[in-house]
Amino acid sequence: MSIYLDLFFTFAKVGVCTFGGGYAMLPILQREVVEKKGWATDEELTDYFAVGQCTPGIIAVNTATFIGYKYKGILGGVLATLGVVFPSLIIITAIAAFLSNFAEFPIVQHALAGINAAVVALIASSVLKLGKTNLKDAVSIGIFLVGLALAFFLKLSPVVLIVCAGVVGYVARTLAGRKEGSK
């Protein structure tokens, strides 16, 4: 199969399997893109999420463009993005046309509550995987804990958080480098 078609359909699959916001996409991306296709590493996915949530546009779309571009240039970025939105076009159009009271059915609400419980578990397991690659020293663990507290309890804007963490990372590296240099 052509690589471009493969990009499109892989991301269409990611789109179908995503319930909720862009974060719910992470476990699916890890499976399809990191483990099955090898188009990106866990570390790169974290980078894309970091950049994707402080640049214009919704995270899911930004991440798809990033991976597609890195793998196959501009056309790759465009096709991965079209792939990720393609299932929405079909499913939402069908529901809007025939079943606009879809979300009110009790069975849908119950099923969705079940899905969300599973999504929590999937995100938790993804975070553990990312933690293994991304939290290796005191500085990174510190940034993680402080960042988590600021984001969850104080609802600090992701943009502010990401920019501050970048500065902290840069300063920490520079100081560490200086210490080594003076030895």
Partner: protein, 187 residues
């Protein structure tokens, strides 16, 4: 004309909404108020449907608003509008990052970004967990109750994901089973 306008209205959303699908809601309210294409009540329905169907929520909402406003062509153009700024901005940033991949400065900055990005993902997970596991309510409106079936289901899925053999199953299998469990046990 409506189609062109849909494209540009959603390109604006794509350009100015930063973050997940929820970040697009204020922009959508504004579009509804200015154009009269949909009311706030319509928007509530669209949010509910977008949350409960496959696909990233922000994309679903763009598709839904587009379809309500101008049928299938509207759905396509609103969605294309939403993603166009992302494609342009991200390709520029990705190109820049590729060029400076070897730079020590970029590497040092990303050493700080990665744990922060992991924290944001964890925080999003906690928010979903709080919404699913806890319910505030009852007659007094300030009793906090734990929704045990959801906790048990999440725990079961989590243990499966850590299991040597079961973790090879595709995540969608767990999502599908959880949907069935939710429907059968009336979560």
């Amino acid at each position: 004309m409506t189609l062109l306008r849909l494209f540009f209205e959603f390109a604006k959303v794509g350009l100015f909404a930063v973050g997940g699908g929820l970040a697009t809601i204020p922009f959508l309210q504004d579009i509804g108020a200015r154009t009269g294409w949909f009311t706030d009540t319509d928007l509530t329905t669209m949010i509910a449907v977008s949350e409960s169907t496959p696909g990233p929520m922000g994309v679903n909402m763009a598709t839904y608003v587009g379809f309500q406003t101008a049928g299938l062509p509207g759905a396509v153009l609103a969605t294309l509008g939403l993603i166009t700024p992302s494609i342009i901005v991200i390709i520029i940033i990705a190109g820049f990052l590729q060029k400076f991949r070897q730079s020590k400065t970029v590497d040092a900055v990303f050493s700080g970004l990665r744990p922060a990005s992991t924290a944001l993902i964890a925080s999003a997970g906690l928010s979903v967990a709080a919404a699913v596991f806890l319910s505030v309510g009852g007659l007094e409106e300030h009793t906090l109750s734990i929704h045990w079936p959801a906790v048990i289901l999440a725990l079961a899925v989590f243990l499966c994901m850590r299991h040597k053999k079961l973790k090879k199953l595709h995540p969608i299998v767990f999502i599908a089973l959880a949907a069935v469990a939710g429907a059968v046990f009336q979560f």
